[in-house]
Symmetry: C2
Subunit: 144 residues, 2 copies
DNA sequence: ATATTATAATTGACTAGTCAATGATTGATT
DNA sequence: AATCAATCATTGACTAGTCAATTATAATAT
């Protein structure tokens, strides 16, 4: 296999491993999973959202959203109520408890991210960000 | 939350999504999962390996390795035999069938990767590779 | 008004990882 | 030689996603 292809494959391998490591470490460090953090954070910024809106923002399957929210609701971190105007929808909202959780893990999270990127310049971070955006678009196009 | 931290969080989010997309698309495109492709490819290049050696190269859990190999063995893509010199070890080797599979998916794979990086310059790819290596190291350090 | 279609959430069955416990074998210590 | 510790593979129970089928509701067309 030619070198360029080998390199790309290697990058995919690294993607997988970095994601796994980061996800694991984030939870150890902050006490909340990265996805559930993301859900709470999105709700904090956007206010009330239906599950489908949340799904579109987070780009994970609706089934996964439903299950996460069930757990977050059990822990009193979100409220869920049917939309009176459209009974198909469930409207989700963060609770005070949920906000407190976000605040609590904030300094851990910051430290965590700082460590991860400690040997990156600001410019490098920008470049990475830009390249990731391109890959998001390209990988999104490949099917559907 | 400050902007830099927000950006980093966003990158982690993109990591997750790119990995998911790529993994999914790769399998659709080539007919084999990226991890199992990686296992076969590693065996092709390294010859016989014990499961623990494979585990160290792929950096995924031993349990996952065992399960993948079981399936690959059922499909006659690898051989597995206890090491006579050390009966704790299982020695794994790719079969001719396994090599054929790798060859078959090769052009699909190449096209797949080309599409994914179609708007990247060679230099950008190199930079990305370098940054991913740094992130691998950094994320590996954060715990154990 | 009724039948059809579309949308939103849920559930079940699946894949691919994790960790922790277990079993078998080997190596080291006394 | 017998015990104790370490190593390797396996298994079971778990998390977090996927897809496909189901249910309930809303919107549309006849």
């Amino acid at each position: 296999m030619d070198q360029s292809c080998e390199d790309v494959k290697n990058m995919m391998f690294m993607f997988k491993n970095i994601d796994r490591q980061v996800t694991q470490n984030f939870e150890k460090c902050t006490g909340i999973s990265l996805t559930r953090y993301e859900i709470l954070y999105t709700l904090l910024n956007s206010g009330q959202l239906s599950q489908i809106e949340l799904q579109k923002k987070l780009k994970i399957d609706q089934a996964a959203i439903t299950r996460h929210l069930k757990i977050l609701e059990e822990k009193n971190l979100v409220y869920r109520n049917r939309n009176k105007q459209n009974n198909r929808e469930v409207i989700v909202e963060i609770t005070n408890n949920g906000m407190a959780i976000l605040e609590n893990c904030d300094s851990n999270k910051t430290q965590f991210f700082d460590e991860l990127f400690h040997d990156f310049t600001t410019k490098e971070k920008q470049q990475l960000q830009m390249m990731l955006k391109k890959l998001m678009v390209n990988s999104g196009k490949q099917t559907g």
